[in-house]
């Protein structure tokens, strides 16, 4: 099957909210989704990710901008002409149709001959592991099974793109992890360009080729999970993908593309080409809890902090420390070493210099 990309050009969409009035749900979004990739739209609730997905599907019409599926401008095309597969958050199975009829629905609409229809439904049910469920009704099967019916129904028509709107949010935690693996395997084996919407960053990182992080109707950063984690382009991204500490600092010197920052009386050298940073300026530095090391001796050449809280989680241990009146989160993946650290104890703290961020 020919793979196609998706191209969103300057799309905007506003809604009329009963209380708030006009709300810009999606504001001038540009996004290229490559053929065959799975891209996740990630963001907090109300950020416009579902609206964007629904515009790709054709359920909403953008106020401005255009949408391309491959080379074709589909902005004015109704949803039923776009050849997309859509998996809804609540699955939206037809309650009055059996599992077989639900899955066969799209084939019937297309006018696929009966014999071929039966063959394809059988194949796809096998693919999602629901062979033998044909004559059951949606209210007779479990949530996880309903989810798989929804998926089967969407892919049986061999859509050019597959769109998934928080498909796992109604499943319990374990099933969620299992099913996302299944979806990813299926998507790869069918090589189907897919857009996936979720607000769960772990799910996004686990399933995606690339992630587009959205906030307040705009795309903030697009990249692989690693890019977003290691090279966030702003504070919002750094806080949404993983956890991050924010600590006060002062600019001491700027030289040769490096900024020298004083953090709790210790100087750190950080690569930065940012032009709006000035000498003597006070700002915040950002560092993830896992890039901070703790040591037992509160030595003079290290930052010192007092343990307020220790949470033992098995493979990792999480600390909250008080550092000169600032709260700092530290995560250690050395549970053996951490055994000796206990609340109210003074510890030495080292920040791993190359992971310090300024925005």
């Amino acid at each position: 099957m020919e793979k196609i990309g998706i191209n969103l050009k300057n799309i905007s969409k506003s809604f009329i909210h009963k209380v708030k009035g006009k709300v810009e749900a999606v504001n001038n979004v540009n996004l290229q989704i490559k053929p065959g990739e799975l891209l996740t739209l990630l963001g907090p609730s109300g950020c416009g990710k579902t609206t964007t997905l629904r515009m790709i599907a054709g359920f909403e019409h953008p106020d401005k901008g255009s949408i391309y599926l491959g080379e074709e401008d589909v902005t004015e095309l109704m949803a039923n002409k776009r050849k997309i597969g859509f998996v809804f958050q609540n699955y939206a199975l037809f309650p009055h149709l059996s599992i077989y009829e639900n899955v066969a629905y799209g084939l019937k609409v297309k006018g696929v001959p009966k014999a071929e229809e039966e063959k394809e439904v059988k194949e796809v049910l096998e693919l999602v592991g629901l062979t033998g469920y044909e004559s059951q009704f949606p209210n007779q099967i479990s949530g996880g099974e309903q989810q798989r019916v929804a998926l089967a129904r969407a892919i049986v028509i061999k859509p050019k793109v597959l769109l998934l709107d928080e498909p796992l949010s109604n499943l319990d935690a374990k099933l969620r992890v299992y099913t996302r693996g299944e979806i990813r395997r299926l998507q790869k084996s069918l090589d189907m360009t897919s857009v996936y919407v979720t607000h769960d960053q772990e799910e996004a990182m686990a399933i995606s080729d690339r992630i587009a992080l959205m906030n307040k109707g705009k795309i903030i950063q697009v990249g692989t999970a690693e890019e977003l984690y290691f090279k966030p382009n702003c504070e919002f991204v750094s806080k949404f993908i993983g956890k991050i500490n924010s600590l006060p600092a002062k600019v001491e010197e700027i030289k040769d593309g490096f900024v020298f920052l004083k953090v709790f009386d210790h100087i750190y050298q950080i690569e930065s080409s940012s032009e709006h940073i000035k000498i003597k300026e006070k700002l915040n530095i950002f560092i993830r809890p896992e890039f901070i090391e703790l040591s037992k001796e509160a030595q003079a050449h290290k930052i010192q902090g007092t343990v307020i809280e220790k949470t033992f989680l098995g493979e990792k241990v999480e600390f909250i420390l008080d550092v000169y009146g600032n709260q700092m989160n530290v995560t250690s993946y050395d549970p053996v070493k951490c055994q000796t650290f206990s609340p109210n104890q003074k510890l030495g703290i080292s920040l791993l210099e190359k992971y310090i961020k300024i925005f």
């Binding site: 506003s14 009329i16 009035g21 006009k22 599907a57 054709g58 359920f59 019409h61 106020d63 109704m78 949803a79 039923n80 002409k81 776009r82 050849k83 997309i84 597969g85 859509f86 809804f88 958050q89 609540n90 939206a92 199975l93 037809f94 309650p95 009055h96 059996s98 629905y105 799209g106 609409v109 297309k110 009704f137 949606p138 209210n139 929804a150 129904r153 969407a154 028509i157 769109l163």
Partner: protein, 568 residues
């Protein structure tokens, strides 16, 4: 771009994208204008026009008569009292039924007994009250030996209307009480409240919007009721609908009738607006279908339960007694004088009355199909499609149902007597009246069912390549099938039992059973009137059973539940 224009633009965009919807919207509007707006406009014109000028003198003339002023105040007083007494009674029944841990059997029995007055012709209760408490009534004359007991007047109308209309309050309040999550009450108990305190601080406050709604519904029902006061009010207690009727049929003063119905329109419309924009926003209880942990309802102490059930049962027995009396009156020679058993009244019904029966059935069945489909289509459009004029379509389509039948009847009389649409004297005018009046119940059930269906189900169909017409046929229609049947049933029942609007529209060519009952009442042929009433109640009952069976057999797996035959 201002919000309004965006909405307008989107509305246009969607309409032109979907030609099937576009065409239906246009066609429906043509019908609504002809059969709802045009007739009502006729009343306004006749009320405010005199020799081509705008004037208040018509109203002034009518209001100059003392009797009319009195009728206005009587109508309001009666409606208020019925609203209060019916709501209290309805709440009592609903509370007992939902909150007193009744067994399914008792609960069903209450439902069945209470439904009787709702599905009967509106004056059945009035007739049975005369049989029971009239000058020669079973209780007043035979049992107590009163010879001069006066049955006619406000007290009887109030009693009859309360018994007739309180089931509306019952159904409204039952849904709301059932929607209150018992765990909320559990919470209050756990915080140390007594039963009385839980009732006063949790249950009752949550029901207040429902009580207000129920009061308004009963107020409107009483305001519109024409048959009960016509039989029971006597000449000392005039009310507006009967005055308007007498003005037209007795004095042949159509303008006077129109003006009186306009005066009736003022409070009726106020109630309509209050209900729509005030009560509707005050609902706290939303029925989500999501049930919390199962918990036993503890609202009522076991001893209180027995008392509550006892009171409810005695009222049910009173209703059943009155209906038995109706049947008895239909099989005795002359009720009050000669209690010899006879079938002669039924002979009259099936010979002389046969034409009325045939006419009524033809009209009711035609009206049922037209009204049912009309309701489903409009209900579908206004709840599932976004187009300009959507909310005004909803309001207009519910107008004829919300207004007293007397107004609608007079409006039709005025509108369709002359060309361009002269259909007075035909079956068409009666059918149109029923379709555009009672089709509204079908609209409401459709909207209610569609609101429970997630919009993404239709989007799922579209995403699989289905055109909007395919989605409608394969997904929406099967899912609203229960609403359609419900709508068909309601339109049929209402067509069988209605009188207030159609009494103005019958003719020599086309007449109705209900009109014949009224004629027989005035001719004092009470036995025949009773026999006709029994016939109507029987037909309606059979139809309800038939539709229920049909639904049970053909109910598709997973289709929405049909909780009630009559949506109030």
């Amino acid at each position: 771009m201002p919000a309004f224009f965006i909405k307008l633009k989107n509305g246009f965009y969607k309409l032109t994208k979907d030609p099937a919807v576009f065409a239906s919207v246009i066609i429906i509007w043509i019908f609504l204008i002809i059969f709802i707006l045009f007739p009502l406009a006729k009343i306004l014109i006749l009320t405010f026009e005199k020799s081509g000028h705008f004037t208040f003198s018509n109203i002034a003339e009518i209001l100059a008569k003392r009797n009319h002023i009195k009728a206005f105040w009587n109508s309001l007083l009666l409606a208020t009292l019925v609203g209060i007494s019916g709501t209290v009674l309805g709440f009592f029944f609903a509370f007992t039924s939902v909150r007193a841990n009744l067994s399914r059997g008792w609960s069903k029995f209450l439902d069945a007994a209470i439904i009787l007055p709702l599905i009967s012709p509106p004056f059945t209760m009035a007739i049975t009250i005369i049989f029971s408490f009239g000058r020669r009534g079973i209780i007043t004359y035979n049992l107590l030996g009163f010879t001069r007991f006066n049955i006619y007047g406000m007290h009887s109308v109030l009693f009859a209307e309360t018994i007739t209309f309180f089931p509306i309050a019952y159904l409204t309040l039952k849904a709301i009480l059932a929607g209150i999550d018992p765990t909320v009450e559990d919470m209050a108990f756990s915080l140390g409240s007594s039963r009385g305190r839980v009732f006063n601080t949790v249950t009752l406050p949550l029901t207040v919007p429902g009580l207000a709604n129920s009061f308004l519904l009963l107020f409107a029902a009483s305001l519109a009721d024409f048959a009960t006061p016509l039989i029971l009010a006597g000449n000392k207690f005039p009310v507006l609908p009967t005055e308007a009727f007498l003005q037209i049929t007795g004095l042949f003063d159509i303008r006077g009738g129109a003006v009186l119905s306009f005066i009736l329109l003022v409070p009726a419309f106020t109630v309509f607006v209050l209900q729509r924009y005030w009560v509707a926003q005050k609902y706290y209880v939303t029925i989500t279908g999501k049930s919390g942990a199962q918990t036993e309802i503890k609202s009522v102490a076991p001893w209180a339960r027995k008392i509550f059930l006892g009171i409810c049962l005695s009222i049910c027995l009173l209703i059943l007694y009155l209906y038995l009396l109706l049947f008895y009156a239909s099989i005795v020679k002359a009720f009050g004088a000669n209690y010899e058993i006879t079938l002669k009244h039924y002979v009259v019904v099936f010979t002389e009355g046969l034409k009325a029966i045939k006419d009524t059935l033809i009209i009711a069945i035609t009206g049922m199909f037209c009204g049912g489909f009309y309701g489903v289509i409009i209900g579908y459009l206004i709840s599932k499609k976004d187009f300009i004029s959507r909310s005004s379509m909803e309001i207009v389509s519910l107008l004829n149902y919300s207004l007293p039948g007397t107004i609608v009847g007079i409006a039709y009389l005025l509108a369709f007597n002359n060309p361009p649409i002269a259909i007075t004297g035909t079956a068409l005018i009666i059918i149109a009246c029923y379709v555009f009046r009672y089709g509204a119940t079908s609209i409401r059930t459709t909207v209610a069912i569609l609101q429970q269906i997630d919009p993404s189900i239709e989007e799922a169909s579209a995403s699989l390549g289905a055109k909007s017409i395919t989605t409608f046929r394969r997904i929406t229609i099967p899912l609203v099938l229960p609403a359609l049947f419900n709508g068909l049933g309601v339109v049929f029942i209402r067509s069988m039992t209605a009188i207030s609007a159609t009494i103005f529209l019958v003719s020599i060519n086309w007449t109705l059973i209900t009109v014949r009952i009224l004629e027989k009442m005035t001719e004092l042929e009470l036995g025949v009137a009773a026999a006709f009433s029994v016939l109507v109640v029987t037909i309606v009952f059979i139809v309800i059973i038939f539709i229920n069976l049909f639904l049970r057999i053909f109910r598709q797996e997973g289709a929405a539940d049909l909780s009630n035959m009559l949506g109030g």
